[in-house]
């Protein structure tokens, strides 16, 4: 059981990473959700013994290499988001789907805000409101995945 979980963890991370590497054009680039963070959040809620903060940090480091930015930026953002994912992980069984969606959205926004703070420290220009669009598209993607039958541990709403 654990062995197969580990395999699907690595496989899903790889697929998410490839999806991030696809050359997105300008418009889609603004829309593109953070696939890697979504996969990490999913596994942190589903199998916290396999996917912990260390995994999130390592994946963030790979993301730093892929974006060509300074080492450690995405790593730090993912670490912080993963920490907040882990502290409420045990309460998640009490959440219904809508609450879980809100929770995932909060996690995505947290990672984006920590990245934004880091970027401001390193002297980048501020971006407009559309900087936060990936959080919305990410949560939409999560919702679609749940509707398609992905088991995220939340109860169906209304029960």
């Amino acid at each position: 059981m654990h062995q197969s979980n580990l395999k699907s963890l690595i496989l899903s991370l790889m697929i998410a990473f490839i999806a991030t590497l696809i050359p997105w054009s300008a418009f889609a680039l603004n829309l593109r959700p953070d696939f890697l963070l979504l996969v990490i959040i999913f596994w942190m809620l589903r199998a916290p013994n396999l996917c912990n903060i260390g995994v999130a940090w390592g994946v963030g480091l790979l993301m730093d290499v892929a974006t060509g930015g300074i080492f450690g930026q995405y790593a730090l953002a993912y670490t912080i988001a993963a920490f907040f994912a882990s502290i409420y992980q045990r309460r998640l069984v009490l959440f219904n789907n809508a609450q879980q969606l809100l929770y995932v959205f909060a996690l995505l926004v947290i990672s984006q805000i920590s990245l934004l703070i880091l970027k401001i420290f390193t002297g980048s220009a501020l971006l407009g409101w559309y900087y936060f669009v990936p959080s919305f598209s990410g949560v939409l993607l999560w919702h679609i995945a749940v509707k398609l039958g992905l088991k995220t541990g939340g109860r169906p709403s209304g029960t």
Partner: protein, 329 residues
């Protein structure tokens, strides 16, 4: 405060016999510290360039997989292009060829004459440029910086510092080379400045990126400066990085306000900064010595011991005229 926060988290932690490894708070602190150390090391020191190079090489196969869908789409698109499309395109191209070959003859005559005049004046020959055709394989995923990755790298003799141009003008500069790819910072990035000259009157200035698409800025020019909207900016070549005479941008508006001694000049880049796939990486010879010293010297101990790095660097930084004068000796 941190203690209180920690205490709050502790309340909902599982009993000790369920806990595996350190608590998530400890992990958070550990990995946050590690990230901050990495950020500091990478932004201030150059230790990590080797690590980065290896990791990028590791990512290469994944990148190839990610590029496959668009590659297949383009290939099939080309395959299914209708016959008559090709014919009409062929006709257009022939026409264009004819027109341009006339222009080319003109150019040949001019360049012959120019060479002759230069040799008469005993002037330095303009440095020959070497160029490599590359293709943009990915657009930077970081919304804060304007960067693209090109599929030519150190193995194709691309050096950091080379100018990147397309058919219409300069689009950026190579800022980092990997084995089989290199990172190009676009001229719209805030960290890139490019020395330009107004084509109409030869006025020199420096253009800065704004971090936004399709906008360049010419700061620190006096309010009475002779620049009009519609002026064409070309590279001046005095920096020894960009070859002279490449188109950079067109001035789109000049604003003068009473409360500032400087004119506010906004330009639109003429190269397709955001929309081309094929680009030319142009390096002029003496930037090579500068770049190789910086990137290859740490690997080869023997060469760096025999040559004093500072000496080579200063020779590379000299202006092109001096470099050319010293070359024959």
């Amino acid at each position: 405060m941190v203690r209180g926060f920690h205490h709050k988290l502790e309340q909902q932690a599982a009993p000790a016999f369920f806990v595996r490894g350190p608590s998530s708070f400890v992990r958070l602190v550990f990995f946050t510290a590690l990230s901050i150390v990495l950020i500091a090391t990478d932004s201030k020191l150059q230790y990590l360039s080797g690590v980065r190079k290896n990791l990028v090489a590791l990512l290469q196969p994944l990148q190839a997989v990610a590029n496959m869908p668009s590659q297949i789409y383009r290939n099939s698109d080309e395959y299914f292009t209708a016959h008559h499309n090709l014919l009409s395109e062929n006709r257009q191209l022939k026409e264009l060829l004819l027109k341009q070959s006339v222009g080319l003859q003109h150019l040949e005559a001019l360049s012959l004459e120019n060479g002759h005049l230069r040799s008469l004046l005993n002037a330095n020959k303009t440095l020959a440029e070497s160029s490599i055709l590359g293709e943009i394989v990915q657009i930077g995923r970081d919304p804060f910086t304007k960067k693209v990755i090109v599929n030519r790298g150190a193995s194709d003799q691309v050096v950091a510092g080379a100018a990147v141009v397309d058919a219409a003008g300069v689009i950026g500069q190579v800022t980092r080379t990997h084995g089989a790819s290199s990172e190009v910072t676009l001229i719209t990035d805030t960290s890139l400045a490019i020395p330009v000259q107004v084509a109409r009157n030869g006025l020199r200035a420096i253009a800065f990126g704004q971090g936004r698409d399709q906008v360049l800025d010419l700061p620190f020019l006096p309010a009475n400066v002779d620049i009009r909207s519609g002026d064409i900016l070309i590279t001046s070549g005095i920096d020894g990085v960009y070859p002279a005479g490449l188109r950079v941008a067109t001035v789109s508006q000049v604003k003068v306000s009473a409360d500032s001694p400087f004119a506010h000049i906004v330009c639109v880049p003429s190269g397709g900064v955001e929309n081309h796939r094929q680009v030319l990486l142009v390096s002029i010879p003496h930037t090579e010595s500068l770049a190789t010293e910086e990137w290859i010297a740490p690997v080869k101990d023997a060469t760096s011991q025999s040559k004093k790095p500072t000496k080579i660097l200063s020779a590379g930084k000299n202006n092109p005229h001096q470099a050319a004068l010293h070359a024959p000796e």
